[in-house]
């Protein structure tokens, strides 16, 4: 099966899924930085 027969699920295209990965990575890092700095 070639990749053009296999659609990109949920996100629909490769640029969108790559953007989602990068945004998600930045959000996760931001949350970790907040978790680390928050006063408990």
């Amino acid at each position: 099966m070639e990749d053009q027969d296999d659609p990109v699920p949920v996100f629909g295209s490769w640029p969108r899924i790559y953007a989602a990965v990068i945004v998600s990575a930045l959000v996760v890092m931001g949350l970790i930085a907040w978790f680390s700095a928050h006063r408990y």
């Binding site: 027969d5 296999d6 490769w14 990575a25 996760v28 890092m29 970790i32 700095a37 006063r39």
Partner: protein, 563 residues
């Protein structure tokens, strides 16, 4: 362990071996055996990629590291999501469309046979020896804590993995990895839930985090612009990026997983799946270690975590000296427990100072115990961080759950071992036997030999693990040697896919120069190891291009393999 724990562990071991044998039936050619017939879906490959990376020593070592050093180690994974995107855009399409079995096979098509042979040989040398350590390290910890023989633990873990990988090849590896990764995720949530539930009455999760924060255990982001300081944000983002590019892009144990995808889309999705989940997973594992640290504020930890060494200390050290250390240790524990409770009540900075005082006394008493142990056994270098989490599991988890989490440690070890046995056999078969000995052996002959090579590497790993106690420093040298060429091999792949101009000569000599430069940096500077891959990759890339420009090849390199 209780009989229920034993039952859980036996069900896991028998069940996973039987499932591996069932899942791996139907291999007829080496495409089936090494690449699961190139029919796997992204989620199965993605879980297998994740399971191959998380070894038992990652699981127990990372929690131990969080206990002693906090969560700073998390930054090592910060480069991973970006690495996955870069790999999906670069090497994955090249590998997939070239229909190769190994990453190194691609290098012959792009450069020449010697570059392929050298990189594959480096992989076999380093991975072949490190797989012995992958087997030895958790076996040592489990044998000490469970009271089993070291050899029996190694053989139980090693042989049960070898059996299903020899029979089922990569299909067995991937499907057992899926189950093992499910068990590992379940185990992570169970450990977290139990650690939170076992906090004493009146101490909530927020209090536990406050205590961890007071000790600097929650510090993750360190923006110090230093090349020597471990685990800064920059070494994580840049050094971690290069480390992950090298591991997922050039290490056959990972490349082989995603080459099993049923399409390029499936292969790419398997890596992106890891890009989403890996950092949160490591966060949860480290958080578990931090909560275990808080737990031992309110429950007495042992003087030393390694039970066998503690027994030796009690047997051989002067009784009066040890009793004096124990008295100081207990008094410091009591003082720390009371001041911790008072601090949580009012968050008073003066109480925090008293708490730190007791903490220092506790550290001092423990250091004294370590000094006494080292003096008693006549050997320096005692470390026991890897024993902390398994001790917690065996002494604090309820019956049944302890067996489950020990099964998680077995699952983490076996999922890594299975992928490595399979990939070592693939490189041996494809890059050496088929390339230099016989390329027309037929399906039955090649399948039989692939199983023989799998058995050979499994047996070799067991042999190294059984001798590891004696090999000690030699293994450390080998591991260090591995870190010298990891980034350099990444540089060769960068030359292969990013430039049309680089010649075979540039790639080969660039690789040698890169390895030498990493060795020079490692032996003459204090630069942290996360930067070694950056040094190696950049040196190979630049020197490869310079050699290509100033020392032209008499024969043109083979045509570039376009995707």
């Amino acid at each position: 362990m209780s009989s229920l724990d034993w039952a859980v562990l036996v069900v896991y071991l028998v069940g996973i071996a039987a499932f591996g044998l069932w899942a791996g039936r139907g291999n007829r050619r080496i495409d089936d055996f090494f690449l699961a017939g190139r029919q796997m879906r992204w989620w199965a490959v993605g879980l297998s990629v994740m399971a191959t990376q998380i070894s038992a020593i990652t699981f127990i070592g990372t929690t131990g590291q969080a206990y002693t050093d906090g969560m700073r180690f998390l930054v090592v994974y910060f480069g991973l999501p970006f690495a996955m995107v870069i790999l999906c855009l670069t090497v994955v399409p090249f590998f997939y469309r070239a229909r190769v079995f190994t990453a190194y096979e691609y290098l012959e098509r792009r450069f020449d046979a010697r570059t392929r042979t050298l990189t594959s040989l480096l992989f076999l040398l380093s991975r072949g020896l490190s797989v012995g350590v992958t087997l030895y390290a958790p076996s040592l910890v489990l044998s000490v804590l469970l009271g089993w023989g070291e050899a029996e633990t190694i053989l139980l873990m090693g042989v049960s993995t070898i059996v299903y990988v020899i029979y089922g090849g990569n299909r067995s590896v991937i499907w057992t990895d899926v189950v093992q990764m499910g068990i590992i995720w379940f185990g992570i949530f169970v450990c977290l839930a139990v650690a939170i539930r076992q906090l004493p009455e009146g101490v909530g999760l927020r209090d536990a985090l406050a205590l961890a924060q007071l000790n600097g255990k929650l510090e993750v982001i360190d923006t110090a612009p230093s090349l020597t300081q471990p685990y800064t944000l920059w070494s994580g983002l840049i050094g971690g990026l290069f480390l992950m590019l090298a591991y997922f892009g050039c290490d056959q144990s990972q490349v082989q997983r995603y080459l099993s995808g049923s399409s390029l889309t499936q292969s790419r999705l398997s890596l992106l799946f890891n890009a989403f989940l890996k950092v949160p997973m490591q966060f949860l594992i480290l958080l578990t270690g931090v909560l275990v640290f808080v737990f031992y504020h309110f429950h007495a930890p042992p003087l030393l975590w390694n039970r066998a060494e503690l027994a030796r200390l009690e047997r051989e050290a002067p009784a009066a000296e040890l009793a004096e250390i124990r008295t100081r240790f207990s008094a410091a524990l009591q003082g720390r427990r009371e001041s911790a409770a008072r601090f949580l009540h009012g968050r008073d900075p003066q109480v925090a100072q008293a708490y730190f005082g007791h903490g220092r006394q506790l550290d001092e008493a423990r250091k004294e115990a370590v000094r006494l142990l080292e003096h008693t056994r006549g050997e320096a270098g005692y470390g026991d961080a890897n024993y902390i989490f398994p001790t917690y599991i065996l002494t604090q988890l309820p019956s049944g759950l302890a067996g489950l989490v020990i099964a998680v440690i077995f699952a983490a070890a076996m999922s890594t071992l299975s992928g490595e046995f399979n990939s070592l056999a693939t490189a041996t078969m494809v890059d050496f036997y088929r390339r230099f000995v016989r390329s027309d052996g037929g399906d039955a002959h090649e399948l039989l030999l692939s199983r023989v090579f799998t058995g050979f590497w499994g047996g070799f790993a067991c042999l190294i693990a059984l001798q590891a106690g004696r090999l000690g420093s030699a293994i450390e040298v080998v591991n260090r040697f591995g870190s010298y060429f990891y980034g350099s091999i990444l540089g060769v792949f960068a030359l292969a896919v990013l430039t049309a101009r680089a010649s075979a000569r540039g790639a080969f000599y660039g690789l040698l120069i890169g390895m030498f430069s990493v060795w020079a940096v490692a032996s003459s500077t204090k630069i942290h190891f996360l930067w070694y891959n950056v040094v190696g990759a950049v040196t190979v890339f630049v020197s490869g291009l310079v050699i290509t420009a100033f020392w032209p090849q008499e024969e043109a390199a083979g045509p570039r393999e376009l995707p």
